[in-house]
Symmetry: C3
Subunit: 209 residues, 3 copies
Amino acid sequence: MNSAELIHVLYLIAIVAEAMTAALAAGRRQMDWFGVALLGCVTALGGGSVRDVLLGRHPLSWIENPSYLLITSGAALATILIARHMRHLRRLFLFLDAVGLVVFTIIGCNIASGLDMPLIIVIASGMITGCVGGVLRDILCADVPLLFRAELYATVSIVTGALYVGGQWWGLPHQPVMMAAMLTGLALRLLALRFGWSMPKFTYTESLH
Amino acid sequence: MNSAELIHVLYLIAIVAEAMTAALAAGRRQMDWFGVALLGCVTALGGGSVRDVLLGRHPLSWIENPSYLLITSGAALATILIARHMRHLRRLFLFLDAVGLVVFTIIGCNIASGLDMPLIIVIASGMITGCVGGVLRDILCADVPLLFRAELYATVSIVTGALYVGGQWWGLPHQPVMMAAMLTGLALRLLALRFGWSMPKFTYTESLH
Amino acid sequence: MNSAELIHVLYLIAIVAEAMTAALAAGRRQMDWFGVALLGCVTALGGGSVRDVLLGRHPLSWIENPSYLLITSGAALATILIARHMRHLRRLFLFLDAVGLVVFTIIGCNIASGLDMPLIIVIASGMITGCVGGVLRDILCADVPLLFRAELYATVSIVTGALYVGGQWWGLPHQPVMMAAMLTGLALRLLALRFGWSMPKFTYTESLH
């Protein structure tokens, strides 16, 4: 299995994991089955879609591969059946969610660097791919996006992207750099979850208006 | 009147009806007159705009026909004047809103099939056109989108699109299939409203985090 | 300094001011430093991005000039340091925010008229550029957008755009018309802030459903 195939397999695992965690968020809002399926699709595929719309890159991945819609909505609906056992699978899901974050980030970086974008945009593309799906999920649930308050979620994406882009810029070989960036990001996320690490918060209580 | 003309007339009725129901939502949030007009435009034209942005199809309908902006903002503002009588028109508006849902769906299907999209994307395009305007309205009102909890709203759109696409795929003549799909969708929506039908809900109370 | 250079300098001032006011909104929601930086970027650059996506115009400004991402996220983070003094700078910020509104509006009008769009779309493009960043900020904070309830904010954008477009349409020279439109818009916004002017509100208490 070469690195492109590995990324594709990890991508499929990641969209399934994202769709399933989105289904649980939908269940907390008592959405109907249709809402569950839709929130699964939007969360799993929304980051890549926003990235492609901002980059002006068409067709979007799920328009080119409509099976992604079936996979993510199917995974979200299956979650309804197994929800009672999800508690025991909590660690597995947090792990798969972390895998998804770094895989989405690498894919987003690859797409922008394939378009010869500047380095900052390559990292931003990785971060949009990794994080925007969860932001859309939270907007559709009328929550303040968790991203802005969670354990290093976006930071992990930026670190992963910066290592990957920086390593390639230094002329290091592609595949080891990619692996090292993903494993570092994954470790950082899992440590942040384990020890409750978070970015410092900014609290401001006065109104400007 | 051929079927393209009929669809266009129904489209104009639908965007007026969508803009007027959006104006009532704005009034419930005590928005100012500008907010009323803007929410009317976004609700009536937002579904088609999101569809076209996702499909990479330009120019958007209201950029090509700026009169749609005047029609929908005018309809929303007119609603302020007649709001006190809206209660008596409640059934008419729910009917026109249902007409709008199936008409938007058919239009969205036509646009995607005109771009030779796969069947799943044609149905998804119909659903996005029919439903996303209301989702944007609810996001701008900071509500959890009604779509995820309402009486078969999105289901009606999927059923309408699937009948329309399926009938054409089976080689049935275009115009009767379109009419049958629209009437079936309309009947399903009106029955759902009348009898309070809804999709089963998924309730999940534990936190994954 | 010609008018294009003036607009560019004012644009840089405007994105800094927008990013800093967004940082305060983030602080009110106790977002972490990353959320502060991101909300700054989205608020300052989001209006232009949505405009370009709707017009199908690529690359987006911040993809062409990635330094805008650094400027706006840097300005947002710097706000954390000086937040305790912001109260004394309140009037300066409201002034710079008003400058940003009219400058964004003029830039949005220029871009649409450069694409030979009809007059209504030119004015709408100015308004989207001027106002949508703040709407995105409020959505990400899970608030009903202030735009729909604030002191003539969107009205100022429409008046500025209409004067600018109308003056050019009447054949008046470009630079004086632009200056007059900007100063009129700025004066209107400052008077609205000073005297608490607002659009009449529409209140509707019954449910259609």
